[in-house]
């Protein structure tokens, strides 16, 4: 009797749990925004008198006017001062002083929150004339003071911002960061709609730099009031952008809705929903059943062959060049890569065109410099030849005629890297190398790389902003060359990189960057550029106006995209 009772009780408990767990479903009635203040999120989003509403419930309603896109990883925060990688929400809910857009096929700096600007002759003082018709999502007007606030917030040590290097060239910025000043001396609001920024030294890329998502402009009033919930709680995270945050169910989805008072005119879609789908195959299935509208295949590239190989999707593929490239980095602190002849031999032994055609459907082109096409300062670099015999000869000359052991490092659980590393391994083995592939987990990889200790490795770099400085400074200064495990020793290059930043004459500056590039790539073979890929995205028939952004990023603004069924 007792036994049956216990089973019965167990059954009842199970039933009770099931009933109670009904609330576990994210049906939108109790949004689990982590601040815990769910009701506030709903009312705040529903306020402001605009017509766009978050869709009822979190189920995807096919046939609605929202754009649904997937993401493989959850975002830590949408405060772009504190996150270095995930920019899709900042690109849609905030604006910057200027933007970088494709105009007639050329990446151009265009006005945004700043309508015009003057630069002093010595390149030190930038005066921005701001628009007077911009409001934040909570109705507050945007003024020059907000620009001052944004810059000071980034440099305030209490913020613990990760992107301080985007404003650190402003006079007094580093002093504030070090705790020696309460504000940034170099930024001043001259009046409500004029802000003057003075730099420590001239910095050619400054305007391009201001177009990056990390330089998004925040509201002093709203951001201060939000405290540490800014970027986390949708109810208090406001910007000036075409969409505003409505809801955030952690690890599930973020919902943005149209901001009708956007200064460039309201967006066409009702909103943007970013759904967490960690598995690429599941993303494909959701695309096919219409739950997802846009899937970035360069990011979910296990699905690339499926969509590219299928005629049915021919008209759904949107491509654009990526402002970045893949390359191999050599570590000159590790044998045998300390010898330039060995590095050149490696470069000559790899048939890049074949790899591109066979492994990547030819969707890209081979590059011979660290300045990809489309970037300011890119030039026609000399082709690095594919010459296996020459490679073998160089290897012998360097004393490795009997074979040369080489390690290629990569992260575990990275099938793309493994695939190309294996091909490269076999190509190198043909000319006398003995290559082994070493896999370590992601955290260890980054930790070791930062200390300058990883071996030859495939790497990729996409530009933050349209300037050669972003491509060369990042890898070849004294500090960065260690942090990237390249460890080159050319002190001239260290100096040239600093000099170039301060140059005012654009032609001279570009010439110097080209010299740096030629030295590092052609003469010293510190890195071996591979290819610049095409960025490929698949969009549904009913999605109009989608274009790959100037830099080929996955993260982009959806302001101009509309749904037409």
């Amino acid at each position: 009797m007792k036994k049956y009772l216990s089973f019965f009780l167990a059954g009842v408990m199970a039933a009770a749990m099931l009933g109670g767990c009904g609330s576990a479903f994210d049906d939108g009635s109790s949004p689990t925004s982590a601040a815990g203040d769910s009701s506030a999120a709903q009312t705040q989003a529903a306020g402001q008198g605009e017509t766009a509403q978050a869709p009822a419930g979190n189920t995807v309603q096919q046939g609605d006017n929202m754009i649904h896109i997937p993401s493989k990883n959850e975002f830590p925060t949408v405060d772009c001062q504190k996150n270095t990688e995930f920019y899709v929400v900042p690109l849609n809910i905030y604006d910057r002083l200027v933007e970088c857009e494709m105009v007639d096929g050329v990446a151009t700096i265009v006005p945004s929150l700043a309508s015009t600007w003057d630069i002093s002759d010595d390149g030190l003082v930038y005066t921005f004339h701001l628009r007077d018709d911009v409001t934040f999502h909570n109705g507050i007007k945007f003024t020059a003071d907000d620009v001052v606030y944004t810059i000071e917030r980034m440099m305030d040590p209490a913020t613990a911002a990760m992107n301080t290097d985007f404003f650190s060239m402003i006079k007094g910025a580093n002093a504030m960061l070090e705790g020696e000043a309460d504000g940034v001396e170099g930024v001043k609001a001259l009046d409500d709609y004029t802000v003057e920024i003075t730099l420590e030294v001239p910095f050619g890329p400054f305007l391009a730099n201001l177009a990056t998502p990390s330089c998004s402009i925040y509201s002093r009033e709203a951001t201060e009031a939000a405290g540490d919930q800014f970027g986390i709680d949708p109810a208090v995270t406001v910007g000036t952008g075409p969409f505003k945050m409505a809801d955030w169910v952690l690890n599930d989805r973020i919902t943005l809705v149209r901001y009708d008072d956007y200064f460039k005119g309201p967006a066409k879609a009702d909103g943007l929903q970013i759904i967490q789908v960690p598995d690429e195959n599941t993303q494909k299935l959701m695309y096919e059943n219409g739950e997802l509208d846009v899937v970035d295949l360069s990011s979910s590239n296990s699905q690339l062959p499926y969509f590219m190989g299928n005629d049915a999707y021919k008209d759904n593929l949107v491509t654009g060049p990526e402002a970045g490239q893949y390359f191999y980095a050599f570590n000159q602190d590790m044998k045998p890569m300390d010898d330039v002849r060995v590095r050149k031999a490696i470069s000559m032994a790899i048939d890049r065109q074949t790899i591109l055609d066979q492994m990547y459907n030819g969707a890209g082109h081979v590059v011979n410099s660290m300045l990809p096409d489309g970037i300011l300062g890119s030039y026609d670099a000399q082709e690095i030849p594919y010459d296996p015999e020459g490679a073998r000869a160089l290897l012998a000359e360097a004393g490795y005629g009997d074979g040369c052991e080489l390690e290629i490092w990569q992260m575990t659980d990275n099938p793309d890297a493994l695939a190309i590393n294996q091909v490269v391994q076999s190509m190198l083995n043909e000319v006398g190398f003995k290559v082994s592939i070493k896999q370590i987990d992601e955290a260890a990889y980054y930790a070791e790389r930062k200390e300058g200790r990883i071996g030859m490795t495939r790497a990729v770099w996409w530009g933050d902003f349209n300037d050669p400085d972003n491509f060369l400074y990042t890898f070849f200064t004294q500090r960065n060359t260690k942090a990237r495990s390249i460890n080159h020793k050319n002190t001239d290059v260290y100096q040239w990189l600093e000099d170039a930043r301060a140059m005012i004459d654009e032609d001279e500056r570009m010439a110097l960057y080209q010299k740096i590039d030629t030295t590092m790539v052609q003469e010293e073979a510190a890195v071996f550029p591979l290819f610049q890929m095409d960025h490929i995205v698949v969009v549904q028939d009913w999605v109009k106006g989608f274009e790959v952004p100037w830099n080929g990023w996955t993260d982009t603004s959806y302001y101009k995209v509309s749904i037409e069924r």
Binding site: T77, L177, D252
Partner: protein, 306 residues
């Protein structure tokens, strides 16, 4: 029996502390700090240096451990490095989803598995037996992601393949987990029942001309269910610690995914929180199994639960 339970519960506390300690030490030794991982490709060395000091990442591990234990005893399990939210709220949001999925899968597997096992045992070596055991074997052997992808491809458009927005979203993931669990339960039920059916007292009952199979089944079944109950409790425990692959495949924001993300991101506070939580759940599950054992088997109860 109450003494037995109380003793078991008390033992869990040093176990939990021991586990926390172990994780702390291991994570101190393993390369990779959370900042470097978070910045990934876009690493900025000076930012990392500055923030490491602010986040006390460079303090010796025993200092950090001491602070952690102190805060934990006050119910504060820290703030996730990566997600900037309190660990307890993250777990509180993730766990109900895993709980629902686990309970559904478990109950499903028992409802299907136990009768299947019984039928197989009774009709040993018949077609039914081979069929059921074949299916059970598949459930146990085929990995979750294969079953999951298969079901996704077949049912795409008919049933939801991603997310957790409604009861319908439960169906496919519960099937994936349930098939594996049902397979185990069915095989165990069958073998356990077969063993008991061979026992002397059953033979005696039959020899004495006792009523037909169903009655004997009633006797035999009660005695054969002991290992099955243990298995059921263990299964719930393991399901509750989160089926990572299923949660990833079906985009379910449960505790399995939370734990794996914490590991990959070297997100110490979150990792500590999920490990402690999962350990507690597993210990609780085993405790329930032991109690049920006591309840179901008088011999154990009488002997004071040793």
């Amino acid at each position: 029996m109450l003494k037995y339970i109380a003793k078991r519960v008390l033992v869990t506390i040093p176990v939990l502390i021991g586990i926390v300690f172990l994780i702390f030490v291991m994570l101190s030794v393993v390369p990779g700090d959370p900042l470097t991982v978070m910045m990934g490709e876009r690493v900025k060395v000076d930012v990392i240096e500055r923030l490491s000091v602010t986040m006390h990442l460079n303090d010796p591990w025993y200092v950090r451990f001491g602070w952690y234990l102190w805060d934990a005893l006050h119910g504060d399990f820290g703030t996730s490095y990566k997600l900037s939210r309190s660990v307890s709220s993250l777990i509180a949001n993730a766990f109900p989803k895993t709980l629902l999925l686990a309970v559904t899968a478990a109950v499903l597997s028992w409802i299907i598995g136990i009768p299947a096992g019984i039928l197989s045992a009774v009709k040993k070596n018949s077609l039914v037996d081979h069929l059921f055991m074949g299916v059970a074997l598949c459930g146990v052997s085929i990995p979750a992601f294969s079953v999951g992808m298969l079901l996704q491809n077949v049912f795409n458009g008919i049933l939801p393949v991603s997310g957790f927005a409604s009861p319908r979203h439960l169906i496919l993931p519960a099937m994936v987990l349930g098939w594996n669990a049902a397979g185990t339960i069915a095989r165990l039920t069958r073998s356990s029942l077969l063993e008991v059916l061979e026992d002397d007292y059953i033979r005696t009952a039959r020899a004495k001309g006792l009523a037909p199979l169903p009655v004997i089944l009633g006797h035999a079944l009660k005695n054969s269910l002991l290992p099955v109950i243990t298995m059921m409790a263990i299964q719930i425990s393991s399901l509750l610690s989160g089926a990572v692959i299923t949660e990833t495949l079906f985009s379910i924001p449960g505790i399995g995914r939370l734990t794996v993300d914490a590991i990959n991101g070297r997100d110490m506070p979150l990792l500590q929180g999920t490990v402690i939580f999962t350990t507690a759940v597993i210990i609780a599950g085993n405790l329930v199994a032991d109690i049920l054992y006591c309840v179901v088997d008088p011999r154990i109860r009488v002997e004071g639960g040793k």
